[in-house]
Amino acid sequence: MKILMIEDDLAIGQALLSVFQDEGHTAVWLRLVADVPARVHQEPFDAVVLDLNLPDGDGNELLRQLRAEGMRLPVLIISARDSLQDRLKGFDLGADDYLIKPFEIPELLVRLRAIVRRSHGAIEENLWQAGDVALDENRMLVTRAGQAVTLSKTEFALLLTLMKQANRVLTRVELERRALPCGDGQSQTLDVHIFNLRKKIGDGVIRTVRGVGYMVQRDA
């Protein structure tokens, strides 16, 4: 993977360069906003890692400009600015992800891979795994410990929604909105579907957080 890193801090830039090299990526490190546009249009990068506080300009402004010029590379913002407004602004200007400094390196790498994959429209992202449950979104197949499980369309949508965001509790409202055919507002409907889903795939997959919602653990 070829990464364009725009970061003015020497210590962080140097360290990230080492990380990318150790991971087998190629990284180009720029420290000035002025150098970016020419470079980004000349070389075939896979992703841009962008810091917001730059000595000769604002990262947000740069991103806006690049997007306006038609640059379609996935962009991951790394910034110390952590307020909600800052993050929303980043996304609004066309960032694909936003990571707040300081961050864990594995998280950076995972997110970087994810945005690159998304930008390529990769097929493999449609395979989901949580514990011994596997879900193939394209073929609409679900297996538990290798055994195929047959689910209704709604149950499959529910499980997919939960597995896509494994390790995160999804509230009833979120689940109803994303997985139920047309939110009929009957919250018992959700319980019925979850009950049926549990009966089919067995215990220990879907956890209830009472009064809040449901979650699937990635490594149950």
Partner: protein, 460 residues
């Protein structure tokens, strides 16, 4: 009490100066009355002397040829006068002397010295002297009347003259008391408006409609403006400082990762402990930086807070729980949320999230494996109450106030933390019109943190 009396009082100053001015005017009146009365008395006595003397000259004119009849006439005139003085209860003396062709023929008070004082002395009154003469007949009549024109300087005289002022003073003071009280009322209302403010409220006071008070209000508002600007600067400084710390922390973290990932397996094993220590240290510093920023964000900003739209509290808490629950699930801690209230409150989302998140993360942190956390949202009269209850070790009742202090940590605990969590929760609750309290958990076990939102801030 004594201190209150010693302290200068505007009220007392006004009342005392009112009385003082009143008294000064009374004294000036007294002096004026004294001189006026003295002059009037002299003029009148002089006229009286003159009339009497002319009368006597007229009487004596007819009998001037027979000097032997002059004495009985003068005696009877003098007797009549004394009779009149007696009836009128006059005690003053009159000396009448008559000369005929230069010879003294009559002296009503021969015991007195030749010359009598014109002005009063310590032990003698003044005398007013008038002389009438008829040169044709060789008659000279001198009448001298003793006048007590200094009676006003005696205690009795002064008190007589001042009596009206003194008796009317209480009658004047009672209205003055009321008027001064009414006059000072706007000042008192400004003072109580300032006294009732919370220490976070530095918005300007409303302009005073009184010309005399508006400079004071303007000065206070100016001070508040300078103060809030200064606090704003401090706030920016703290935020900037916390942000500045993030970059070096990030550098440490990334370098630690590179360092550890480049170590061979044998080194990695020996370095496992310091590596874990390094990671933990960075994580703690990062956490503290984030908590500092969260604490700053919960700081009330009245201008912003007034414009917060109403938010469904139950849905809001549910979202916060959903975001945090995976931490609990990892340690098999059960989280339950019971919402009996579905009201909406005008919430400042960032500070409210900081408050709720800190209570939830505390509950998770101090829960044992397989524990249970119960979050309840109950309706209160007009407002609502949010409680987060865990089954952890709890906090001694005597420390339940202290733990809200910044950087205070309960002694002897193993959990790491910044010591800011509850301070953030308290401020976040306060910013949204809530009050926070700690108590025993359900069944006397663990800890219950409760935020109560009063009815006043509730929009149902």
């Amino acid at each position: 009490m004594r201190k209150a009396f010693r302290q200068p009082s505007l009220f007392r100053r006004l009342i005392l100066s009112f009385s003082g001015v009143l008294l000064a005017f009374a004294l000036a009146g007294l002096v004026w009355a004294f001189y006026e009365a003295k002059a009037t008395q002299r003029t009148r006595t002089n006229s009286e002397n003159k009339a009497h003397a002319l009368n006597i000259i007229k009487h004596l004119g007819d009998i001037v040829d027979r000097p032997e009849r002059m004495l009985p006439v003068l005696d009877s005139i003098e007797a009549n006068r004394q009779q009149m003085f007696h009836e009128l209860d006059y005690h003053s003396h009159v000396r009448l002397r008559v000369w005929h062709h230069g010879r003294l023929v009559y002296n009503s008070m021969p015991a007195l010295p030749e010359s009598l004082p014109q002005e009063a002395t310590r032990d003698a009154y003044a005398w007013v002297r008038t002389v009438a003469r008829d040169d044709g007949k060789g008659l000279v009549v001198e009448r001298q009347h003793e006048v007590d024109d200094e009676w006003m300087l005696t205690v009795w005289g002064v008190s007589f003259l001042l009596s009206t002022t003194i008796t009317s003073l209480p009658l004047l003071l009672i209205p003055a008391w009321l008027i001064v009280g009414i006059g000072l009322r706007p000042l008192r209302s400004i003072a109580s408006a300032i006294a009732q403010r919370s220490d976070a409220d530095l918005t300007p006071l409303p302009d005073s409609t009184y010309r005399e008070l508006s400079p004071l209000v303007d000065a206070i508002n100016g001070l508040m403006q300078r103060l809030s600007r200064r606090i704003e600067h401090e706030h920016e400084f703290l935020t900037d400082a916390a942000h500045e710390l993030k970059t070096p922390l990030a550098a440490i973290q990334i370098n630690a990762h590179v360092l550890l990932s480049r170590c061979g397996a044998d080194v990695a094993e020996r370095c496992a402990e310091p590596a874990a220590g390094l990671r933990l240290g960075v994580a703690r510093a990062t956490h503290t930086v984030h908590q500092l920023l969260a604490l700053e964000r919960t700081r009330a900003e009245p201008q912003v807070d007034q414009a917060c739209p109403p938010t469904d509290v139950a849905e809001f808490v549910r979202d916060r729980l959903a975001a945090a629950a995976h931490l609990a699930v990892q340690r098999n801690i059960d989280i339950e949320f019971h919402a009996d209230a579905d009201g909406a409150l005008p919430l400042h989302l960032e500070s409210m999230a900081a408050a709720v998140d800190n209570l939830i993360s505390n509950a998770i942190k101090y829960s044992q494996q397989d524990g249970r956390i119960t979050v309840r949202l109950t309706r209160l009269d007009g407002g609502c109450r949010l409680s987060v209850c865990d089954q952890g070790p709890g906090i001694e009742p005597m420390l339940r106030e202290k733990v809200f202090e910044r950087f205070y940590r309960v002694p002897g605990q193993e959990q790491s933390g910044s010591g800011l969590g509850l301070a953030i929760a308290e401020r976040g609750a306060a910013r949204n019109g809530g009050t926070i309290a700690l108590s025993d958990g359900e069944g006397g076990k663990g800890l219950m943190a409760t935020i109560e939102f009063a009815g006043a801030g509730a929009a149902a």
